[in-house]
Symmetry: C3
Subunit: 133 residues, 3 copies
């Protein structure tokens, strides 16, 4: 069964902490031991694991991504003005696999799961499949 | 069972759309619901999910990767002249996990699966394992 | 069952080849055919697949990452002085999925699994789950 979470973003580039939504989806399946695959069905968004304590870490991550992959570049050919979003999406990745034990996500102390919006604001989807094993 | 797809590349850096080949491999296993792991057994190639509509997106992605990780850098030590390919491979990643439902890849409207050649032209392999669950 | 490998790093930025430790963990589970999920529960470290033959490849990878994401940047806000480590961790990724057949990791000829330390030296953990399928 695929569960789908909705993520509403409010800025062009934004990281949204979806840890509790993913945890809730895991609990709904009553999965005890296994893992969860989180998949982003968009080409201008991604998903990453990052620190959930100091928001400045998220700021610095988004700043550096924009520094490396600027919104506008003379060499971009794609006409929609979001080439940077497509490139960032490939660098960050479209999926994350997180282990589950005793019904809980096995995350490090400081880890959260972040949906990465690179071309918002938009309404986005995040697909989740819980797997025993 | 591991299925192996052959990918023949024609340029040093090139993205090859392997979506239909992966879909075909999924159908051959008669997998209904689960996911497919795509794994690249090379260190100068990778795999990513990217837009399958406008080829300019692929151009911009390859251009930016080359802009960030040039073919030649004074600080590279590796003698084979393909340090850039190794670095790009790690940034893009060696595998992708894609969900499957009703026998079909669960991709977003604009998503395709792309084999990323960074040191071609070569004959390459892509390993695929379909998993029910 | 989650197995946990300990990785002790000796430098701030370092790649540690954990291939043999992962292979040993796979053998201990007697997994014949399936795959192994390797997960890093830290936000300043990652895991990648890279060449295991010429150490210069690893040098070039770490050099380019530091070139793109310097240790110090005027725009970093995070007060712990390791924003670069957090950013590199997201770019490289927190997990890798590797296929297993006949009890052995299905790696390409030149591939090794590398734990990526970006804020050491530290004692680190790598979680492993072997899955049949």
């Amino acid at each position: 069964m695929i569960q789908t979470i909705t993520v509403t973003t409010g800025e062009r580039c934004q990281l949204v902490d979806v840890t509790s939504k993913v945890q809730k989806a895991v609990r709904e399946t009553r999965l005890s031991s296994g893992y969860v695959i989180c998949y982003v069905p968009h080409t201008t968004a991604g998903i990453t694991i990052q620190e959930n304590a100091d928001p400045d870490v998220i700021h610095d991550f988004l700043w550096k991504l924009a520094d490396l992959v600027p919104h506008v570049e003379a060499s971009y050919r794609h006409g929609e003005g979001n080439s940077d979003a497509h490139i960032k999406a490939s660098l960050v990745g479209a999926s994350q696999t997180i282990l589950v034990e005793d019904g809980s996500l096995v995350l490090g102390t400081w880890q959260g799961i972040y949906f990465c919006e690179f071309d918002g604001p938009r309404q986005r989807k995040l697909h989740i499949r819980c797997v025993a094993g």
